[in-house]
């Protein structure tokens, strides 16, 4: 099994180590996971599935908790509007 997986984050192709969660990948490339109701960029806070700050659009589905999802080959992730 390859040591890295390749996915797109806000349209840009990125390589991350296998086993990386989507939340960690978004921190790595400094993309916010979501934009808050008053327009602030947000990133993961609790890292354990409680706070919902890391929710993003994964493979077209909005509001996914990215700290609980591992990156997969050719996954498409976008900042939750």
């Amino acid at each position: 099994m390859p040591e890295t997986v390749s996915l797109t984050i806000n349209g840009a192709r990125r390589q991350v180590a296998r086993g990386t969660t989507v939340a960690a990948a978004m921190l790595l490339v400094q993309e916010p996971t979501r934009i808050s109701v008053t327009g602030e960029p947000r990133a993961a806070l609790c890292g354990m599935g409680i706070c919902f700050e890391c929710r993003a659009v994964v493979n077209g589905v909005a509001h996914r908790r990215t700290c609980q999802i591992l990156c997969e080959q050719d996954m498409a992730v976008e900042t939750n509007p």
Binding site: A17, G19, A23, V37, T38, G47, M48, R65, Q68
Partner: protein, 444 residues
Amino acid sequence: MTFTNTTRTDVLVVGAGPAGIAAATAAAENGRQVIVLDDNVTAGGQIWRGATVGQPQHTDPHKQRALEKLERSGARVLAGRAVFNADASGMLQALQETASARFAEEFRFEQLVLATGARERFLPFPGWTLPGVFGAGGLQALVKSGYPIAGKRVIVAGTGPLLLAVAAHLAEDGAVVSSVLEQAPLALLAPFAASLLSHPAKLLQGARFRAGLWKTTYRTGCWVVEAIAAPGGEKLEALRMTDGSRTWIEPCDLLACGYHLVPNTELAALLGCKFSGSFVQVDNQQRTSVPNIFCAGEPTGIAGLDAALVQGEIAGRACAGRSDTSLQRRAAKERGFADRMEKAFALRSELQALPHPETIVCRCEDVRFDALQGHTGWTDAKLQTRCGMGPCQGRICGPAIEHLLGWRAVSVRQPLFPVPLEALCSQDETTDINKSNELIEEKA
């Protein structure tokens, strides 16, 4: 609600942290059929969270042994399940989440063990919503999940024994941890450290963490009052901190800040378990007030790893009708540790003045601190401001507001986590929405 996808088991354990692992192992070793559900990607919980990337540098031999024993016991672990509903008749529903699908599953059990652990307490301060500000355990979890931290300047702050552990792990992963700020005064910490003499293993652990941090300044009686953004306003650049009389600024890339732990008791409340203060009431066999429902670990009192393991084992054996007085004596000793910890890391009253009027308190709904002024309690504030009504359902702002304004959450209802409608509807056409919306009041 009728589910086509139903699994039956003797014992269902919610949470695969140390308490849940111990409970499941003990129940299965005593002849019960056991299923363990966990919200996370893998078993281990938070204190035993494994690295999912690269070589597991921090693999704990105790954790390895516990996981091997669990596997040998025959208990089945189902990870990636968020429990959103249960009732005392022996029914529990969980949302299974994978990268590509979400669907609901139903479980039927004879006995249920609640081992739902704890989360960090966050207190709002100006700038705490900036990317770069994390929980203390939160940053550690994200690093273990593949966020590289080597070379980053990190400040660890808040309160609790977790801070030094987090700082040591981050330093081991190459972070430059310049300061650790503990809000508790030395006068309270010193007796706590001395009391650890009755728990030598804990003292040794503390000393080891300290030894890895020889370049780090450890300040007691100090706390962060503001996270300062770099020009552009979207990136953390520095922190303003205080010792109560003077304030100063230290530059950093990341802040790891948590104010000790609060128990995850939503499921126990939904099931109607009796509480003692913030914690689930249990007897010496870890039985809650509801028949056939047991609780072990942090929801019964924040007492750490050793207490979770022994309570879990007691609960697991109790599910097989067995009891053990020597285990009960050990559990009682660990409860003493919890009481001392609570006194040592009590939140100072100055922290109530952390938020400014414009500081966001509820991060889900962006409710400012000044919007809460003039409301009499949670119900009023929720109706008028939507505070605590976003996806986290008050799990983050609830404990903060309890410290800031003294309001206690009044009710818990299902779904305990946001569940997409299609996950419910895909199960069965006989889904009864009205029944699922019944309001269940917390019997605190």
